[in-house]
Structure formats: C-alpha cells, structure tokens
C-alpha cells in the first residue's frame, strides 16, 4: 500500500528531480512545493457572453454560483480558439490543432491533459495517470466517441472516457483503500507478469509484419503502451471514504448497464456523482489530472434548470441569451459542487493549502454566442499551487494555445512536448 507518507516522500523526490527532467520556468521552480492538480471541464454548445463576464466586481448570472470563490477565480477574456470553427473547435480547444470541419482527421497531437499527466507521472507517479469521466457525452452509447466529436486526444485517437459513475467508482475503488499488502513474490503476480511478457512478445511479432504500414503500426504501439500494470505494481492510496452516496444512489440503475448511463433523465445525478469521484480521486492523490465532459458539442441533453423547467441544451443555445444563461448557470452550480469538495486541506501538502489552491480547474467554451470561436467564455479556479494569478479578469487578445502553453509551463511540461501550442504565452496570469 502506498501510504500518504510514502506518497509525500515520492512527491518530495519529484521536486528534486524535476529541474533536470526538462524546462521548468522560474515561477514553478520557486514554488514547486505544491502538489499540483489539473481538472478540465469543457463547456460545450457555446456560451452567453453577455451573462458570463463579471462587471464592477460582481459575478454575472452564469458565474454567480461561483461567487464564494471569487478570489480564486481568474477570468480570461479575449481568448480565441485558434484554427477552428463551429463545434469542430472541441478538437482544437485543448490540442491546439487546426480542425476545419467535422470530417477532417483527428488531431495527431496530445491534448494538454495528456501532456500534463505525462509530466506529473515523470516527476512523481500517481497510481492513476489521468481520469476521464463524462456525463451523457453523446445522445446514446451507440455514439460513443463518434468521429469528429471527441475532446481529449492521445495521438492519434481520442482518450477513452467513462460515462457510468458506478463503473468509474468501482474501477477506482482498488486505489482508494486497501488493507492488504501486495506480496510481490506472490505466484499469481508472477504468472500475471509472465502473461504480460508473452503478450508483449506477440505484439512485437505482429509489429514486424506492419513495419511498412505506419497506420497499423500505431495501433500496436498504442496497444503496447495500454497494457495494464501487473497487480504487484498497482499502488493504492489510503483514503477514508470507500463509498460515495451520489454513486450508491445510482448503483441500482447503472451497475452493469453501460447504456443506462446515457439516460438523460439521470443527467443531473450522473454529473454530481462524476464530480464527487473526481474530487475524491484528486484529493486523495489517486490521480492528479482529471477531465469531465458533460453533454456533447452538438448534444441536446435537457437541463433541469428548475423543478418545473427543462431546457434542451443545444436548442436553447440558439435562442435567447437570457434563457441560455440559465442553462450555463445550472452547470456553474455543478462546478461549485466540485469547488466545495476541493476546498479542503490538501492531504498531500503539509503547508495547509487546500486542494483547490494547488489545482487549476479550467472551464472553457468551444464557441461564443454563435458558431464563432472568438473570445470564448473561459475561466480557471485555483492558482496551481501559487503560480497563477487569480481573483481578477484579464482582458487580452490571444489564443487558446497561449493559455495551454502557459499552463504547460507552470505544470512542468517540457517545451518540446508542448511545442504544438506555439511560443505565445499569457504573461498576465503568471504570478
């Protein structure tokens, strides 16, 4: 079992080794004591900008539920999704790739979550590299990761997401608590490792047959890197809570039923459960990178903005901004739920900082009020462990790539790995 002490020690080691792993900006080097986290929540179907940006120090309608964390929020106004258009921007917003239509090929570069996860793992491995959850991210499970509609990428295919919170939690439960030490010389573990070696040999055999065929060769590379760890190497983290009520409330409806997770009647409950899972995994250090995609870029999931009012997400986005702001505000309430859960002393940080302080929770739209991608609504919460500006609104004129590059810099991603974000940075958000 990986104890907190052990985990902290490992994190401490990472601080010493980080500078030689790649470029680390001065701001990070100075304040690298914090165990950073990154949480990305894309807000799709555009926004209602007239109800998003704060004015006179007050939160506008959409962000009003986030008001208790005003001093930890940074608005960035004037951010354009570079090289994209329409909802196609969902594939650009976190990859920086040029996507001009639904039908062009997926990005062949990694999205920021993957880059940061790699950097974090290199510095100090968490049990789980990254966590990717979703709530009704398609109208039906039949459209899982439908071509052209994915958001996070792992070169060249989309990152898998788990839309069923019961499955997600059960898959994580082994990390949350374990009372048994794993015996590394256990026969079963050795057999397990033997089988994995055979699989690796078989993949190598097959690779010889596709040497001249890069498309198929990529599949095998991905296969090889996706092989599960042997059970003897799986780490666990002590964490007091072994169940979540929001998950258990859904267990009867969702356990063993993947397609039921796309039941739009459960939308609100599913988001709540996924947020709770992310909060626990992030807080306990099971992972340090998480993403949550609710709805899809052209999805029309009805949003229960009040007990008597159900607004279809996509359709409403093409209507009155006043009405659509209610939809976005409803989502902001969900973000507030996450912030409240993260606003607790960080068990990985003896300084007394909260998990939220050490995090960057990025909430960003792919479109503005129409199908354009200029000055999209964008904010982040948390200073990433004291390296980022918060509590204000930066008015600028730049691209999403500049933001992604800046976040990469402060999270230890090498300049080579993030080179596809270009060299522009948003200096105004650096402390």
């Amino acid at each position: 079992m990986l104890t907190r002490r052990k985990l902290l020690r490992r994190l401490g080691l990472s601080m010493l080794t980080a500078p030689i792993l790649g470029y680390v900006p001065k701001t990070l080097a100075d304040t690298t004591q914090a165990p950073q986290r990154l949480i990305i929540i894309p807000s799709l179907n555009g926004g209602a900008p007239e109800h998003f940006w704060p004015s006179s120090g007050s939160m506008a309608t959409i962000a009003e539920p986030l008001a208790p964390w005003t001093d930890k929020i940074q608005f960035i106004k004037g951010l354009n999704i570079d090289g994209s258009w329409d909802h196609m921007a969902i594939r650009s917003m976190f990859t920086g790739a040029v996507i001009q239509s639904y039908s062009v090929a997926d990005p062949t570069v990694k999205s920021i979550d993957q880059l940061v996860a790699s950097a974090f793992q290199s510095a100090s491995a968490a049990p789980l590299r990254s966590l990717h959850l979703a709530a009704c991210p398609a109208s039906n499970i039949a459209f899982y990761q439908q071509y052209g509609r994915s958001t996070f990428f792992f070169d060249p295919l989309p990152v898998d997401y788990e839309a069923n919170p019961v499955t997600a939690f059960d898959n994580l439960s082994a990390y949350f608590s374990s009372d048994q030490e794993v015996e590394e010389d256990d026969v079963e573990n050795l057999l397990d490792e033997k089988i994995k070696n055979i699989t690796r040999s078989e993949i190598a055999d097959l690779q010889l047959r596709v040497q001249s065929n890069p498309i198929e060769a990529v599949k095998l590379v991905r296969h090889l890197t996706s092989l599960p760890q042997s059970s003897s190497t799986v780490e666990t983290v002590s964490c007091s809570s072994s169940s979540l009520s929001s998950v258990e409330n859904l267990r009867g409806a969702l356990q063993g039923n993947a397609s039921a997770a796309y039941n739009q009647n459960l939308y609100s409950d599913i988001i709540d459960a996924q947020i709770d899972i992310i909060a626990q995994a992030i807080t306990c250090g099971v992972t340090r990178v998480a993403t949550l995609q609710y709805n899809s870029a052209d999805g029309n999931t009805p949003v229960p903005v009040s007990p008597t009012q159900l607004l279809e997400h996509h359709n409403t986005s093409h209507g009155s901004g006043d009405t659509f702001a209610l939809v976005q505000q409803w989502y902001a309430n969900k973000i507030a739920r996450l912030l409240a859960l993260l606003d607790v002393p960080d068990p990985l940080d003896d300084s007394g900082a909260t998990v939220l302080d050490n995090s960057v929770v990025l909430w960003m739209n792919e479109c503005n009020s129409g199908h354009d991608n200029v000055s999209v609504p964008c904010l982040y919460i948390g200073s990433g462990g004291g390296v980022l500006q918060t509590g204000s609104m930066l008015e600028t004129s730049t691209t999403n790539k500049a933001l992604l590059g800046t976040l990469c810099d402060v999270m230890g991603v090498s300049s080579a790995a993030s080179s596809h974000f270009g060299s522009d940075r948003i200096e105004g958000i650096l402390l």
Binding site: D86, H87, G148, K194, E202, V210, A258, D298, N300
Partner: protein, 649 residues
C-alpha cells in the same frame, strides 16, 4: 462507372446561406447524424474499377470479442460476459466497427484483462474443463499442446506456430508447482489478451510488387466475422487451407451458407448483424434513452422507446430478412409490427402484431416511430432533421456545416404549425438556399409527431404535408422539382431515384469492411450494379460482397487510407503508380495537408488554382475564406467570401 454519392460543388456554393440555418435544432447533431460528409464531390464515381483496399489490423468489436469467446469455449451469458469492456467508438457514419476507430486503449486493455481472467476461470473448473479437454485429468505437456492446437487455433484463427506455443508451454516448466487447471486458466487468460486474438489480421503476404494476398485463414476469418460476427469454425479453417475460398464463387457460396440456414432462412447470427447495421444506418439506434417534453408528450417513456426500437427491428427482420426485400420494399412496405405498448401509444384498435397504418401515416421504414422520434426535438417535429436524414441515408449527400449567426426559431404562438415556423425561419433570402434541399422532404412527415404518432392536425390547425424534391442528381443544375403530398407519395418518389441503391450499397460495404463509405464502395461495384439493376435483394447484396477482390487481396498501402486498384492479371512494372481514388478523410497519422478545390470541367482547362478572399466588412479573413472555400466539402458563405480562378500564365 458508379454514381457519385457526394454533394456537388456547384450545389454547395449555390446553397451557401446568407446568414443562418436552422436554429431550432441540432442539425449538426450526432443524434441520428450518420452522414457522409467528408468525401470528394464529383459527377462520376471515385472508383473506376473494382479494387482491393489497404492492409489492416481490425480490432474486434466488443460484440465480436464476446462471440469469439462464447463460441470457442461454449460459454453462455450467465457464465461469462465481457460487460467491462468500454463501448466501441462510432465512425462518422454511425458504425462502430470502423477499423480506424478501433484500437486497444488503456480502458479496453483493462477490460479485456478482466474478461480474459473471468473466462480463464470459467473454463478451468470441473466439469467444464474435462468437457473441453478430456485429457485434462492427465494434465501433462501433451494435453497442454492439445489445448493449444485445438483452442489456440480457434482463437488465433490459424495454427499457432511452435514458437508461440512454446511461450505458453514454458509456464509449466517455470512454475512447476501449479496444477494443470491453473495452467489452463492462466494460458486462456493470456490467449484472450493476445493481439492475434484481438485483431483480425488482414495483412496478407506480398505476392508481387505492391500486392498482398490474404492467407486462406485470413479469408476464412473475414468471411466468418462479416457474416456471423464470430470466428471461423474449424471446418471453415480446414476448407480455407484446402483452397476452398480462393475462387469468388466459392466464397459467395460459403457466405450464403453462413447467412442462411438449412431451410434458406436468415441465420440468427446474420440477423443480429443486419439489425445492428440497420439501426445505425437509419439512426434509430439512439431511440432508447430519448427524452420528450413531459407536457406535450405526456406518457412517453423508456418502455415506449424500447417498443419503437423493437418495431423497427421487426420491420427490418420481416421485410428484408424474411421476405427478402429490396429498397423498394424497404421504403414502401405498408404494414408495421407493434406490441401492446405501441398499440396503446399509437392509438391503434388492432391487436399486437402486424397492423395496417392510418391513412397518411406513411409507409416503409422511414415513417416508423423510432426514426420519427429520433429525427425530432424533445418539443416538436423537425422537418430539417427528417429531410436531412433522407438526404444522408438514401442519397449519401451531406450539407455544408451551419454558418455563424443562426436566428431563433419563431415562437410557437407566432405561427400556427411547425411547418410555418420553419418556413418563416428559412424564408427566401435567408437560409432557403440550403434548406430547400431538405426541409420540404421533412414536411412530408408532418402528420407524424415527435413521438411517432399519427396526428390529423397540429393543435387544431391543418397540416400541409406537401413538398417537393429539388436538385436531385446528378448534375446539380436546375431540375424540375418532383412534387409529393405526404409520406406515402414521398416514398413512391424516393424509390424511383437511381442513387438510393448505390448509396445503400456504400453503407453496407462500409459496415462489412469496417471502412468509410467511399473507401468501401469501390470494392463492391459488381454487386452494386446487380443490386441497382434489381437482380438481387438486400441480403444477397451482402452475400455478393464475398466475391469481391477485397476479400482476398490487398494493395500495398502503408501511409494513407486510399484504396488502390488491384493490378490487372498482367502486372505493370509499378502497379502503385496507377491512378488512385480520391483521398478520403478517414483518420490517418499523417499531418493534414491543405485541402484542394474540386476542379470543375470549366476550370480544369484554363485555371491554375482558385483564390478566395473575404468581402469588405465581412467578419472573416482572407485566410479563413481560402481554407473554408477550398475545403472538402467547401464551406463558403457568399456574404463572407468570394473566390476567383487564377488564370494560367
């Protein structure tokens, strides 16, 4: 020469909207969105000759993996399932078996490991173990070899090499303390995670420069998974090894045996495959889980949605599989099949079973409740979505993406019917240029509400279900509109259009080969012609695919997804230098190249390219116009951009 399935450039430019498109719905939605959007537009086929495609590793789908394990080890659902596997990613046309979309991700690998361990446990306990392997009571190396020779062969779909077998046999020597049952469990766990199991190899061996012959076992595997969704039997592997699958006629005969049972009825396996295909092609796969406005559609629930799914499946089963129908029957069959739930929901007086439809409720598959419910919003019908669905699924045509500024659909109180609201929104001078191509088709279905029920009127107002189809095919020039009144007349018009058969064949080939429509359609031209001429029905169309060259040969195609023509029997010095088909937009790992404009007959002679720029004061840049107007498919709003040919010097 084949009929093209893409939008014509001229048509697209002509339909460029001034400002807006449909604001009332997700015309760009994945809900029922399974169209072909990414392919070249041309008046003639991209494929001049039936060819063979690229070499592939096709990862098994969830269903294929599950069927494989069940068939090889005779495991029932109660004993074992692969429910932990993540869903398969859907391609743009809605199919979830696309070779380029399927890979072994971390989630899939973890799920496979869990499923493999469960299967290993299930077959290594008595009495199951002794049933599968009678020599298990002896449990020696010889018995282990027997296990690998028999079950390893079925899983790998070929004989395992000695080197491959030795890796598993070594476990016995490296772990001398484990018993034989443990060896079977661990070995099975390993075999089921093997890339030789998880991928259908369609790599072949190079027989001449640039041409690869699939091995007999690879051909057997392709046939078995295409027509049964599972692995080849030992008998089929034997037949392949004896050369029984080399000739096209032999493969077609085998395919027919796999599709049909001894009585000539469609087998349960192929039925399952076809219904999966049909539900995704028509888009009704998403009917389950639909939410409708609880006030307007009081009582609509999951049970009704599931009943609609069953109705559509039963329709396809009866009309296509049992009655061996063609596109004509599919689009014009007059009855439907409902259970008691739908009898009540539709307000029928019949008993459950095959029932006649109300006058004006439509006929054929397009009017079924599942499709009508999916092609609608939660609050009202959607003529746009319904019309687009016809364009996409029957004509393989895709509109350009919606523009930036989309006005709101007029409120219901300002218009009497849904049609009036749409006609107001899409009036001449606004979005009509594009919407005239699909909204009028959708108007035909206005007597069917957003939950599939017949309605004589809309809130007391008369429904106008007349419409017309314009700019049909193939030239994109002005053509007389073909009028119709209601869904029955629309169906009668649709079946007279020649492009519906090749379009369907493209979808069927895409599903069968796990590739994009435009890539796959080039492999089945012979069968497509038979189908278009009415010589064969839908089931036979699938069967005839087995005779295609793609089932036995592959072109050396390592860096792009383009299908390459198979060389003639007298190979040229460099077969790959033959002209290839138009590029597809299937995912590759190559950097994207700049799109090029589709040349027209006019500009090929005197033009040396096209330059596009933004109009004065338009909210677009020259760069934006250059990219989007020359994109494939182009998106070039006439109020934003203008293009001109560059004359050759």
């Amino acid at each position: 020469m084949m009929i093209s399935t893409g939008w014509i450039l001229g048509t697209l430019l002509a339909c460029s909207p001034d400002k807006s498109t449909d604001s009332s719905e997700n015309t760009d939605s994945e809900q029922g969105d399974s169209g072909i959007s990414n392919e070249p537009s041309a008046e003639t086929s991209a494929c001049e000759e039936e060819g063979a495609g690229r070499r592939l590793l096709r990862r098994l789908t969830r269903d294929e993996f599950e069927r494989t394990v069940r068939k090889v080890f005779d495991l029932d659902e109660a004993t074992w399932s692969a429910s932990d596997l993540p869903p398969d990613s859907a391609a743009e046309n809605g199919f979830s078996n696309n070779a380029d979309r399927l890979s072994v991700s971390a989630s899939f690998a973890t799920g496979i490991e869990t499923a493999a361990k469960a299967a290993g446990t299930a077959i290594s306990v008595e009495p199951k173990l002794s049933v599968l392997l009678p020599c298990a009571s002896v449990g020696d190396v010889s018995c282990a070899e027997t296990f690998l020779d028999e079950y390893g062969r079925l899983l790998f779909r070929r004989d395992m090499t000695q080197e491959e077998k030795d890796r598993y046999l070594e476990i016995m020597t490296e772990f001398p303390d484990i018993d034989f049952a443990t060896w079977v469990r661990v070995t099975t766990t390993g075999l089921l995670q093997s890339p030789h199991v998880l991928y259908r190899s369609e790599l072949g061996a190079e027989s001449e420069s640039g041409v690869y012959d699939l091995s007999p076992e690879e051909v057997a595997t392709a046939l078995a998974y295409t027509y049964t969704g599972g692995p080849p039997s030992a008998a089929l592997l034997d037949l392949a090894a004896d050369g029984g699958l080399t000739a096209a006629d032999d493969r077609i005969a085998v395919a027919r045996d796999l599709v049909l049972d001894g009585d000539g009825e469609v087998s349960a396996d192929f039925r399952e495959i076809f219904l999966d295909f049909g539900s995704r092609w028509l888009g009704y796969v998403s009917v389950e889980g639909l939410t409708k406005d609880p006030v307007q559609y009081d009582g609509f629930n999951e049970e009704i949605a599931a009943a609609m799914r069953l109705e559509a499946d039963t329709f396809l089963d009866n009309v296509v599989l049992k009655e061996r129908g063609s596109m004509i029957e599919l689009l014009t069959h007059e009855t439907t099949w409902v259970d008691s739930t739908l009898v009540s929901w539709y307000g029928l007086s019949d008993s459950p079973g095959e029932v006649a439809r109300f006058e004006g409720w439509g006929k054929g598959v397009l009017s079924l409740g599942a499709i009508m419910s999916v092609q609608a919003t939660a609050n009202w019908t959607s003529p746009t979505q319904r019309g687009l669905n016809v364009r996409r699924k029957l004509f393989c045509q895709e509109p350009p993406p919606p523009p930036v500024d989309i006005p709101e659909l007029p409120p219901q109180e300002e218009a009497t019917t849904t049609r009036e609201r749409y006609e107001t929104l899409h009036a001449p001078g606004s979005c009509q240029a594009c919407h005239q191509l699909f909204d009028p088709i959708g108007f035909a279905f206005e007597h069917i509400d957003a939950t599939g029920r017949y309605r004589a009127d809309e809130n007391g107002y008369t429904i106008d279900a007349t419409g017309s189809i314009v700019a049909f095919w193939p030239t994109g020039e002005d053509q007389p509109a073909v009028p119709f009144d209601g869904p029955i007349e629309l169906a009668d018009v649709l079946v007279t259009q020649e492009q519906i058969n090749p379009c369907f064949s493209a979808y069927a080939a895409s599903y069968s080969f796990g590739l994009g429509n435009e890539e796959a359609e080039c492999f089945v031209e012979t069968a497509t012609h038979q189908f278009a001429s009415g010589d064969i029905d839908i089931v036979e169309l699938f069967i005839q695919f087995a005779g295609s060259k793609h089932f036995v040969k592959r072109a050396h195609e390592s860096t792009s997804t383009d299908p390459v023509e198979e060389p003639a029997s007298e190979p040229t010095s460099d077969p790959t230098s033959e002209p290839t088909n138009e590029p597809t937009a299937e995912p590759t790992n190559e950097p994207e190249s700049a799109p090029t404009a589709e040349p027209t007959s006019e500009d090929t002679a005197a033009s040396c390219g096209t330059e596009c720029y933004a109009l004065p004061d338009a909210p677009a840049s020259d760069e934006w116009c250059q990219i989007n107007c020359l994109h494939d498919p182009p998106f070039c709003p006439i109020d934003l951009c203008e293009c001109e040919d560059i004359p050759c010097e």
